[in-house]
């Protein structure tokens, strides 16, 4: 995507005060069952429909009073996902990448985290999301990512990737799925 550039964490932390930092997380859990009783779903990977009509990961801007990137991320997860997010927290070990977007203003550097949860934790997030502070406002709904490709060769992940994504979210999704081996073999 034009204007979005991958940078290292140390480069990101050296950016001046004109940059705002945001953190987002891919949360996933193994073995959510089979589609039509036969297609293994492999993993439940969570994304959300955002207020701007695009798909993205839960998270948001880190405030100066958060103290750390991860504290800001965990606060945002509680606001966007609700009480189910109190059952876990993300730390520096869950960090994966940073992307800088200089234009249009504001200048934003978005840090991306990935964490495996238990299936019960993901189900609890889905069950409680409607009670989150941001539900129906900044978050229009939680969705799972289809990791399979249907027989027509398009339905499933290929069609899902044709949707609108915010910032680096589509690249972050693809990198995480490949890096973690979450895609279908072959």
């Amino acid at each position: 995507m034009a204007g979005v550039q991958r940078i290292s964490l140390s480069e990101a932390l050296d950016l001046g005060p004109s940059w705002r930092h945001a953190c987002h997380a891919l949360l996933y859990a193994p073995d959510p069952g089979r589609l039509f009783g036969c297609i293994p779903l492999r993993y439940a990977v969570l994304m959300q429909m955002r207020f701007d009509g695009r798909l993205g990961f839960p998270g948001g801007f880190v405030d100066p009073q958060d103290g750390s990137l991860e504290a800001g991320l965990n606060r945002e997860l509680l606001e966007e996902l609700g009480e189910g997010a109190a059952a876990f927290s993300l730390g520096p070990g869950d960090y994966r990448s940073s992307h800088a977007t200089a234009s249009p203003p504001p200048r934003v550097v978005a840090h991306f985290y990935v964490k495996q949860l238990t299936l019960d934790q993901v189900l609890a997030l889905e069950a409680g999301a409607h009670r989150a502070k941001d539900h129906g406002l900044e978050v229009l709904g939680l969705v799972r990512v289809p990791l399979y490709t249907l027989r027509d060769g398009v339905g499933g992940l290929p069609a899902f990737l044709e949707n609108s994504f915010i910032g680096a979210a589509r690249d972050q999704l693809m990198e995480a799925l490949q890096g973690l081996g979450l895609l279908e073999p072959g």
Copy 2:
């Protein structure tokens, strides 16, 4: 969309046995609040992320044993949305349009319904959706449609319409929003 043609209900009902009938519904409720405390959301309009990675309306194929189009629709709404859908039912008066898709096979005629609910009924659907039979399988998540346009002129409904939609869903959405006067004035 190529291959999708709008037809009347009587034309649809005259199609032969090689056609399968499907019914989908746009469910909405007024006054869900304000975004950022200032942008009136006007209506909560429900769509869902489908198993194939595209956005669509809840509903599905009508079976011969359903007895009527609306009986099939109400059964599908229960399967996809869960127990909250037991609080209301759709009838012939909620019918709006039919679209026929001849290729690729199977030949499908999709009937579209629109029903206004109370905000409490929509909130109950969102609260119970994770317990629906099809949750995490045929339905990857329930989302609200942003009806506003953000200051950049793209975020909100324009960006939402750039997502992937199944069949006639995007046209059905636009027609319903215009016909019901759900869009922002001006």
